[in-house]
């Protein structure tokens, strides 16, 4: 399988994971390890910056994971830029997942503020991964301001509803010059495989792993599904027929 490259980093695994909603840090760490994910997103607001004993950070520090701080909780571009700078200082990474959701109910991303924040953050030297609505035009605009990838949603965060935005994800994947990572809404390994078969470069899965009765086993299932989906995409599919082609009742007269 091809390796995924975002900015200057290459990834063997096309499954990104998160750290929220787990019942304890050990389960979180074990599940992330089982997923073989190399990039794990962490809500900056959950971390005690400057505290060497922060439970979440210490349990993740034991492995070879890259941390991807996210700006969850901010409502404007200005707050996002500030949070990103804080994350850079605290976690020593210039990667940031830009999440700006002024709507606390569905946590839907604000396209206007996201674009503004990304433009600013690129200038400040960040590698940005913007969480966005599955909006093809917005994704192109983000690419133009220098986003190194885009993260359109499959359905609302935490819904486990799968790829409700499929038609738009297809357009985004078709048009994008940067990696497309389907984020949010992936509830089952089959959804993840589905996204990979569509041609997504990676997926990010958190709730579906954290809230499963068996996070470690489901994490492994997600890993396998992402690999299978990617492998299938690279192998390409046999043509799909919508019906059997037995006769041609409309054109048969030409040959009678």
């Amino acid at each position: 399988m091809e390796q995924l490259k975002i900015a200057d980093k290459t990834f063997k695994s096309r499954l990104f994971t998160g750290t929220g909603k787990f019942s304890n840090s050990e389960t979180m760490r074990d599940a992330i390890l089982a997923s073989e994910s190399e990039l794990v997103t962490v809500a900056l607001k959950r971390v005690e910056v400057g505290n060497q004993d922060d439970a979440m950070l210490t349990s993740l520090a034991q492995s070879s994971l890259s941390l991807l701080p996210n700006t969850s909780g901010v409502r404007t571009a200005k707050e996002a830029v500030f949070a990103a700078q804080m994350a850079r200082e605290a976690l020593e990474t210039n990667w940031v997942k830009v999440e700006i959701h002024p709507d606390p109910k569905y946590l839907l991303p604000d396209p206007v503020e996201t674009l503004k924040a990304c433009e600013e953050l690129v200038k400040l030297g960040f590698v940005i991964m913007p969480y966005v609505q599955a909006d093809p035009v917005l994704c192109k605009r983000l690419e133009e301001v220098g986003a190194q990838c885009v993260m359109p949603l499959g359905s609302t965060i935490g819904s486990n509803n799968g790829l409700k935005t499929r038609d738009f994800l297809e357009i985004i994947i078709e048009q994008s010059n940067v990696p497309v990572i389907v984020d949010a809404g992936i509830g089952r390994p089959s959804h993840a495989a589905d996204a990979m078969e569509l041609g997504a470069d990676a997926v990010l899965v958190n709730t579906a792993i954290a809230v499963s009765p068996n996070p470690v086993a489901i994490a492994k299932a997600f890993k396998l599904a992402v690999e299978a989906g990617r492998m299938a995409f690279e192998a390409r599919f046999a043509p799909q027929a919508t019906q059997a082609q037995a006769s041609s009742p409309l054109t048969q007269f030409l040959y009678d």
């Binding site: 909603k21 840090s25 500030f82 606390p104």
Partner: protein, 369 residues
């Protein structure tokens, strides 16, 4: 619609009461199977007709909560700053006519209490006072927030209702949330329980969440005090209030609390009793009505109830609370606002949660933004 009052006035208390009590099993079943329950469904879910379905409601509420909030529980602690109060509230230990020593914490005392809560691990705190605008007004709150901001990730208040511009000042200082319970949405009953003081103004209190929404607050907590009126009708109006606010102030997050009348010296007997089963039914109904709303439980409730409720819809809880100013360190012996029921230590509660497969969340905000 410019405020909730106009909205509330289009309803009649007695009609809502009749409507809830005449809900049938069929309507309950419909509500149970509805993917997006409406306020009519909510009435069915809190009605007596839904009682036989409590187990099903609990299962549903549990599943929704887990999906949306995962295996976590947000922890917070109240910090009472003052018991000075110019209001008469028939059910409250701080009521003006109660002959208790009054105390408002000084800066040094606030910091002492803060250190205690910090050492316990709390990062989210709720500052509580009575209503004494001259001594414990906006300036006092600004000062308290400035003192506490370096020590806590998230600061909320439960104090007298303020004007919009005053809230704006406090938000600028780093205030995250305001809790303001209507006590009861029954205007006449409200007046009998709040005969004197600024709090006797029903409309000013009712419109507080509107002022907060306009001020751009991050979170508003609402609720009714159960015991003053029929809990079902008051809960319907709380839900109506929630739905109204969510549409009007969509950038704000909401939380619901469930205070039941608790005994205090010289206290009031509840007019309409609310049993544990009723409270559970209500919590589940809220969760089914709204997957994302924060549902909060305090130490007013008893140990056994709290141990079980943590899985069934509740997403935020307090521990080891003291309801008297200086109650943690400064003056533990002063009179409480009400008696708490669950007196376990923070460590014990945290262990209980962990053993129940829930991670206590101490920090879920940052004062730097």
């Amino acid at each position: 619609m410019t405020n909730f009052k106009t909205h509330l006035n289009s309803y009649n208390w007695e009609e809502v009461l009749d409507s809830i009590f005449s809900k049938t099993k069929r309507e309950v079943q419909h509500a149970l199977n509805s993917p997006k329950p409406t306020l009519e469904d909510f009435k069915a879910l809190i009605s007596p007709a839904a009682k036989p379905y409590l187990e099903q409601m609990a299962a549903k509420s549990k599943a929704i909560t887990k999906k949306r909030f995962g295996n976590t529980m947000q922890m917070f602690a109240p910090m009472y700053l003052s018991n000075e109060c110019q209001n008469i509230c028939t059910y409250c230990g701080f009521s003006l006519t109660n002959k208790i020593p009054r105390r408002t914490l000084t800066d040094a005392e606030i910091l002492k209490e803060a250190q205690f809560l910090k050492d316990k691990g709390f990062q989210h705190i709720l500052l509580v006072t009575g209503e004494a605008n001259k001594t414990v007004g906006v300036d006092y709150f600004i000062n308290a927030i400035r003192l506490l901001k370096p020590h806590f990730a998230n600061i909320s208040i439960e104090v007298q209702p303020l004007d919009q511009n005053e809230y704006e000042l406090l938000i600028k200082e780093g205030l995250y949330a305001v809790l303001v319970y209507q006590e009861t949405y029954h205007e006449a009953t409200y007046k009998t329980h709040h005969p004197k003081g600024k709090k006797s103004n029903f409309d000013y209190r009712l419109e507080t969440p509107d002022r907060l929404g306009k001020a751009g607050i991050h979170k508003i907590g609402i609720g009714a005090l159960f015991g003053l009126e029929d809990w079902r009708v008051d809960s319907f109006f709380t839900a109506l209030h929630l739905k109204y606010l969510q549409k009007a102030y969509w950038k704000t997050k909401y939380s619901i609390s469930f205070p039941r009348l608790r005994p205090f010296s010289g206290g009031l007997e509840p007019k309409v009793a609310m049993e544990d089963a009723d409270l559970l039914q209500l919590i589940c109904a809220y969760r089914m009505l709204d997957e994302d709303v924060e549902l909060s439980i305090s130490t007013r409730e008893e140990e056994n109830f709290r141990n079980h409720i943590v899985h069934l819809g509740i997403t935020s809880m307090s521990a080891e609370s003291k309801t008297n100013p200086g109650g943690y360190v400064v003056e533990p012996q002063s009179l409480e606002q009400f008696e708490i029921s669950d007196e376990r230590s923070t460590e014990t509660i945290a262990r209980m949660l962990q053993e129940s497969n829930l991670e206590p969340i101490w920090k879920d905000w940052d004062q730097n933004w």
